[in-house]
């Protein structure tokens, strides 16, 4: 089984320095691209590889790059931004890639910047990731010193600056246009789309935003080709995935597996199964803003296409497990409190709707909820849903709620009828 993203990583997880990474051939794809490929050729390979965005949206990385104009006369500067704002509850994959293999990300950023002919690139790093910050600062300095960044990289005539930007908190900074506003020193409220960032992004210039894991895949695609990348997944979507598990399992953690692994394999083989005395009730497959999947979905490939027919999506690929000793209403209440708190406040359904949802869930959890409240919650899953808000934050918040209302209806009714939470003594 091939594990390109983690193959260089040392068993103890300590940071790979430049020397180790160069010895392992890690920067060879950069050389290959700068010495012998045109930007259009790089884009073609990445489109053909079917690399889909690992930040949660699953959009083709190569296609996104192809929207950036090639007309350098009209638009001399453009930007590449690495989205390292990882704040999705239950998600802890980008942190590992940055802490343990920072040069893989830098190599991916150089190649991706070259593909869109960016002259400046940024890593937008979340405030709390202090270790990632230290590791990345060192790695960026090493890459400059070795001539992989800066002017005339490897004598190719291509110039690229890479800046590390540390943020100041707020989940909405992860939404790509909110991120761009934040980089411009403003409140991180999302922007209207279109125009998409590829047309008008940072400082009004063409900009591509990609996730850490997406960019980390790029050097391997260049090294081994598009066909290889498609072949290492189980379903043809391309590549491997960092899958994670948190919650009451024996061995929570993160593993690189072929894209399309099943929940059964991940939970039973890698996470060691449920802890003794706990039973599986459901899972959010990819962070807080994905719909629940349950026991009957154990054998569905966890990739971008296969989860859609069962009403969910891959998201970030880090599973959060709901066990039988955790109250599903309390679980949802925790999620909606997070979403309400992190709403940027720009549009009404989200700003007003999410706190209302939170209050209703709180009252049901506390035993003062009414049957009519269920209808109000259902109404919100439509009202705060896709097409009614400025960005995907509120629709994301509604995903676990709508599926939770469906799968855990009896638990909701038990709270309402018994006027208290059955999980509380």
């Amino acid at each position: 089984m091939e594990k390109p993203l983690t193959k260089h990583i040392k068993p103890d997880g300590s940071q790979l320095n430049l020397k180790n990474f160069v010895q392992d051939g890690g920067y060879e794809p950069v050389r290959k691209v700068l010495k012998g490929m045109s930007p259009a050729e790089v884009i073609d390979v990445v489109v053909a590889s079917n690399l889909l965005g690992r930040g949660g949206g699953g959009f083709s990385a190569g296609k996104k790059w192809s929207f950036v104009t090639t007309d350098k006369e009209r638009e001399p500067s453009r930007y590449l931004i690495c989205n390292a704002d990882e704040m999705e509850p239950g998600t802890f994959k980008d942190r590992m890639l940055m802490e343990e293999n920072p040069h893989q990300l830098i190599a991916g950023m150089i190649i991706s910047s070259y593909a869109i002919q960016a002259d400046k690139s940024y890593i937008f790093l979340r405030w709390a990731y202090k270790k990632s910050e230290t590791v990345l600062r060192k790695a960026i300095a090493e890459a400059y010193e070795a001539g992989f960044l800066g002017k005339n990289i490897l004598g190719s005539g291509y110039d690229l600056e890479l800046y590390l930007h540390t943020s100041a908190g707020r989940y909405i900074c992860g939404e790509e246009t909110g991120l761009i506003n934040s980089l411009e020193g403003k409140r991180a409220t999302p922007r209207d789309k279109p125009p998409f960032p590829a047309i008008s992004g940072l400082f009004g210039k063409p900009t591509v935003v990609n996730n850490v894991e997406t960019l980390s895949c790029v050097p391997h695609i260049i090294e081994n080709g598009a066909d290889w990348f498609r072949s290492i997944s189980l379903t043809g979507e391309g590549g491997t995935k960092l899958y994670g598990v948190s919650g009451r399992v024996k061995n929570p953690g993160i593993w690189e597996l072929p894209l399309g692994a099943t929940m059964r394999e991940i939970i039973e083989q890698h996470a060691g199964g449920m802890m003794d005395g706990y039973k599986f009730r459901g899972a959010l497959p990819g962070g807080a803003s994905t719909d629940f999947i349950i026991e009957e979905h154990m054998d569905i490939p966890l990739d971008f296409a296969s989860l859609v027919p069962v009403g969910s999506r891959l998201g970030t690929g880090t599973l959060i497990i709901l066990d039988d000793k955790t109250c599903p209403v309390a679980f949802l209440h925790n999620l909606e409190k997070f979403f309400a708190k992190e709403s940027c406040g720009w549009c009404t359904p989200c700003r007003e709707g999410l706190p209302w949802v939170e209050k209703i869930l709180e009252s049901i959890e506390n035993g003062t909820g009414k049957e009519k409240d269920i209808e109000t919650l259902k109404f919100h899953t439509w009202y705060c849903g896709p097409g009614h808000t400025f960005c995907a934050h509120a629709p994301g918040a509604m995903e676990p709620l709508q599926s939770g209302l469906k799968y855990f209806h009896d638990d909701f009714m038990q709270h309402i009828n018994e006027k208290h939470c059955p999980w509380r003594s």
Partner: protein, 154 residues
């Protein structure tokens, strides 16, 4: 009044950008690094220096959770209150900390030693519950190991 040092650091940031207002968040971070928090006069001074309105600076300052518009204690405790940490039991640990220090989320101890705040998922969900004190990360916190962790922070 911004100090000469603060001004110098802010002007250094301004150089990287197409117009001075872009440095707004950087300026807030710089002031906070020197003073621990950002008071009203600092908001006005930053606005003057960057040639933007103080409402705009305050709008930015109040948007971001890691910019403090009120004084904080010598150490800031950030407890993850997101889903994986809830499942793994951050609440009993929070209650223990809260009782021990005599403060709730959003408050500072009378001796100014600690401020207690919640934070969204720290990306340590496989080793939950997680907590940060200042720049240090702690995994798998329990009622038993909290006292020992606190000792280091005077």
């Amino acid at each position: 009044m911004l100090t000469e040092q603060e001004k110098k650091e802010i002007e250094e940031e301004v150089k990287h950008y197409p117009y001075p207002g872009v440095a707004c968040l950087d300026a807030l971070k710089i002031v906070q690094a020197h003073r621990g928090w950002v008071a009203d006069d600092a908001v006005r001074d930053i606005a003057d220096l960057l040639d933007i309105s103080s409402e705009k600076v305050d709008g930015v300052a109040t948007f971001y959770t890691r910019i403090y518009r009120k004084p904080v204690g010598r150490h800031v405790i950030l407890i993850c209150d997101s889903i994986s940490c809830m499942i793994m039991g951050y609440e009993p640990v929070y209650k223990h900390i809260s009782a021990k220090l005599g403060i709730h989320f959003g408050e500072t101890t009378a001796d100014n030693r600690f401020t207690l705040l919640p934070i969204t998922c720290l990306g340590n969900c496989d080793q939950a519950p997680a907590m940060m004190i200042d720049n240090d990360l702690f995994n798998m916190i329990t009622i038993e190991n909290i006292d020992q962790i606190f000792e280091k922070y005077e």
